[in-house]
Each structure stands twice: as structure tokens, then as C-alpha cells.
């Protein structure tokens, strides 16, 4: 951080944009929507930071991104969610081979999760955040994070059985 808020913001957005967009993609499953989510979230962060309301840019950005995603989901995407919440379809093996097939299978399995469970998985295992941090970002208790994680992983285990090697089949340390 240079102390010049505009320089700091430009540097932050340039360096973190790709990672945050990936986070958004794992949350929503569509690149164009991920782009919109991350731009909406970062624009809010920029606005708040210019007003001197942000202490830790990265923590704030992740929190805003999650909020934007959950709000967006709640507002206008019942149709989208119905489409995603089709475990049978989601678990169907894609007609491609190798790593790409694995990637698509993982994405499909993620999409099968309810929005908050998906957010929990992304925060815990993609963003590598602790249970405590995840609870703060999602605005829930630590117990809720643990139970959401357990439910999500159980669903993923079921959907990914046979698709992603031993992934998910060990009970050790996932929650």
C-alpha cells in the first residue's frame, strides 16, 4: 500500500481481479456472470474505499463479493437455481475426456449445491479460509459453517463418486 488510495485501489484491482473472478466463477458457474459479479463487487469496494470506509481491502472485497453473489442469487435467479439443483443432471459425466472432464464434473457437482453451501465450500476450500473467517463473511455462526460444510461435502462425495479419484472419500480433515 502506497498511502495514495487511488494507486492502492488500482494496484489491488489489477492484482486480485483474476483470483476474485475465479472465486465468483466457482460460486455461480458462469464466466460472464462471474465477470459481472466481480465487477459489481469491486466497484462497491472502490466506492467505499474512496470514502475511507475500508480498513482491509482484500477481506472487505471477499465479503462484498459473497454478499453480491448471495443477493443476486436471491433476487433473480430462481430459474437458474432450479436448473442447477438437478443432482442427477449435474452428476452426469461430461462427454469430454481427461482433466477437462474432471473440471466439468467438479463444476457440475458444485452447481448442485444450494447457494450457501456452495459459498461455504468455496470459502473454506478455495479461498482457504478458516471456519471462523467463513462464519464472519457469511454472517452465520461457526456451527452453521461446520454443518453446511458437512452437508456440502456429503453431497459432493455422492456426486463425484468414481469421478475424481479418491477426492472426498477420505473423512480426514475436510470439515
Amino acid at each position: 500500500m502506497t498511502g495514495d488510495i487511488e494507486s492502492d485501489l488500482h494496484e489491488y484491482v489489477e492484482t486480485r481481479y483474476v483470483h476474485l473472478r475465479r472465486t465468483a466463477f466457482l460460486l455461480c458457474g458462469e464466466w460472464h456472470r462471474a465477470e459481472d459479479l466481480v465487477q459489481t463487487a469491486l466497484a462497491k469496494v472502490v466506492t467505499a474505499a474512496r470514502r475511507g470506509r475500508v480498513e482491509h481491502l482484500d477481506a472487505y472485497a471477499r465479503q462484498v463479493l459473497l454478499r453480491v453473489y448471495l443477493d443476486d442469487n436471491q433476487r433473480g435467479s430462481r430459474r437458474r437455481e432450479r436448473t442447477w439443483a438437478d443432482p442427477a443432471g449435474a452428476a452426469e459425466p461430461p462427454a469430454v475426456a481427461g482433466d477437462r472432464a474432471t473440471a466439468l464434473t467438479v463444476l457440475a457437482a458444485l452447481r448442485a449445491l444450494p447457494a450457501r453451501q456452495r459459498a461455504t465450500v468455496v470459502l473454506r476450500y478455495w479461498e482457504d479460509r478458516s471456519v471462523e473467517d467463513t462464519a464472519v463473511v457469511l454472517g452465520v455462526s461457526e456451527g452453521t459453517v461446520k454443518s453446511q460444510s458437512a452437508k456440502a461435502l456429503a453431497t459432493l462425495r455422492q456426486l463425484l463418486a468414481g469421478s475424481v479419484g479418491e477426492l472426498m472419500f477420505s473423512d480426514g480433515g475436510m470439515v
Binding site: 484491482v13 482433466d99 478455495w126 479419484g165 480426514g172 475436510m174
Partner: protein, 266 residues
């Protein structure tokens, strides 16, 4: 280790078809700037007390390119309300009190389509951006690039009830004496024959220190309570304080024509 495998799988998932970031980071700042200018376009509220509608005799003295502030043509009709803080609002101009169900905001597509249709000929448009009740276009002619934004509030009194905005009366926005304009702003208020309140401003953009950027604006409040504010800048991004042309691309008269057009779908 399962945790590592899950991370690896997630990493593979995002890298499978990841598009390039492109202009994404720049778009973030464009959105932030748009949000700020939209907010300011909406919330240009000033003064205290009750509206006394000033006589509108020089409505189009605002076109700087025309030089001196001479009267031109406006179909403005003076109200008889004295411009004192004790005076009641001009009854012919006051919007009805909010009642019944709120009117919905104009959809983004309709905002853009209407703005494009109402623009004068000879201006190329680009970089459309719209939200419910809001639209923005970059305008280009021989003088260079500039910006126009329009904000339509279907129920102004409902959206900004008296006393809600910094304790000010929202009607103060429609009289120059009470409206908080940046220093150096030329402001003319008037009442049109149908009772619509009109304020035209021309002056420095609101950002402190942005001395090279001019905001020219027509702000109307129709008798049915609909507020339409149209602003134009001689810049594409205010934040840089870099003018892209000597004057905003639209004159006060053109802004008024857009703001008072009866075909806004609201």
C-alpha cells in the same frame, strides 16, 4: 491429502475454460465512477425550507457556447409564488402527494432506447450503460467525446420524502436559491405551462478540484411526481479531471427537450 485434492480439482475447474481478464479491471473503475455520478445526479439537493418558485425568465442563458447569459426562448411561465421561505409551494407545480402503489422504475433497456431516440441528430453513441431508471451514453461529434446520463424517478416525493435527505425539503432542488450547486454554477429555475418545474444548471462538476469538467443539467419535476434529470459532461470520466472537449455535447435547450419529452415510459 483430501483437502489438497479438492483445491487441485477446483483449480482445474477454473482453468478449464477461463477467458482472459481483458478490460475487466478498468470496467471496475468505470462502474464505480458511474455509481458516483449517478448518485450525485440523483441527490443534488440543496437548501432548507419550503419552495418558492422563482420566476423563469432566462431559462436558456445556460449555453456557454452562446456566450453571454441572454434570454432566448423558453416556454417558461412564471408562477406568482413569492420567493420567500415562508411562501407555500406553487400549487400548480407541486407534485401530488405519494399515494397508492409506487410506480415501477423504467427498465434498463427502455431507458437506453428512449435516451437514444431523444438525442439530437449528428451524435454518435457508444459505451451504453443502464440500470433501472438510469442510462448513460458516450456521445461523440466533431468536438470530441462527452457523456450524457439520465435518471428517471417515477415517484420523486415517495423516493425522497421531505426531511429525508440531510433534513432538506426535496422540493428545494427545484429552486436555484435553495439548491446546493457547486460555486460558479449558473442556475435558472422556471415553471412550464403544464406545471412542470424546471431547473437548468451549468457549471463545474461536483468533484472538488475538478475545475476543468463542466456539468450541464436539466432537472424537471412533472406535476405527476415524475422527476427526470439529464446531465452532460465535457468528459468521459470525471475522476481524471481531463476534459475531452471544450463544452459538454448537449446544450441546455437540448437537455430540456429530453427531460420534458412526454414519451418517457414512466
Amino acid at each position: 491429502m483430501p483437502l489438497d485434492e479438492l483445491r487441485t480439482a477446483l483449480q482445474a475447474a477454473v482453468e478449464a475454460d477461463e477467458p482472459p481478464a481483458g478490460a475487466g479491471p478498468a470496467a471496475v473503475f468505470a462502474r464505480a465512477d458511474r455509481a458516483r455520478t449517478r448518485q450525485r445526479l440523483t441527490m443534488l439537493v440543496g437548501g432548507v425550507a419550503v419552495l418558492g418558485v422563482a420566476v423563469g425568465t432566462a431559462a436558456f442563458a445556460l449555453d456557454r457556447s452562446g456566450g453571454a447569459a441572454t434570454t432566448a426562448q423558453p416556454p417558461a411561465v412564471a408562477t406568482s409564488a413569492p420567493a420567500t421561505s415562508a411562501a407555500p409551494p406553487a400549487t400548480s407545480a407541486a407534485p401530488p402527494a405519494a399515494s397508492g402503489a409506487p410506480r415501477p422504475e423504467v427498465p434498463p433497456d427502455a431507458m437506453l432506447a428512449t435516451l437514444r431516440r431523444l438525442l439530437p441528430a449528428g451524435l454518435a453513441t457508444s459505451e451504453p450503460f443502464s440500470q433501472p431508471g438510469f442510462a448513460e451514453l458516450i456521445l461523440t461529434d466533431r468536438a470530441g467525446r462527452g457523456k450524457v446520463q439520465v435518471n428517471v424517478q417515477p415517484d420523486y416525493r415517495r423516493a425522497v420524502p421531505p426531511g429525508h435527505v440531510s433534513g432538506d425539503d426535496p422540493m428545494d432542488l427545484f429552486t436555484c436559491a435553495k439548491r446546493k450547486n457547486p460555486p460558479g454554477t449558473h442556475c435558472v429555475d422556471s415553471t412550464l405551462p403544464d406545471g412542470t418545474l424546471l431547473v437548468l444548471t451549468d457549471g463545474p462538476s461536483e468533484d472538488a478540484g475538478h475545475d476543468r469538467i463542466t456539468l450541464r443539467m436539466a432537472d424537471v419535476l412533472r406535476p405527476d411526481g415524475v422527476r427526470i434529470a439529464v446531465g452532460t459532461w465535457n468528459a468521459v470520466r470525471e475522476k481524471t479531471n481531463t476534459e475531452t472537449r471544450p463544452e459538454p455535447p448537449l446544450t441546455g435547450q437540448q437537455l430540456q427537450a429530453i427531460a420534458t419529452d412526454p414519451t418517457w415510459p414512466v
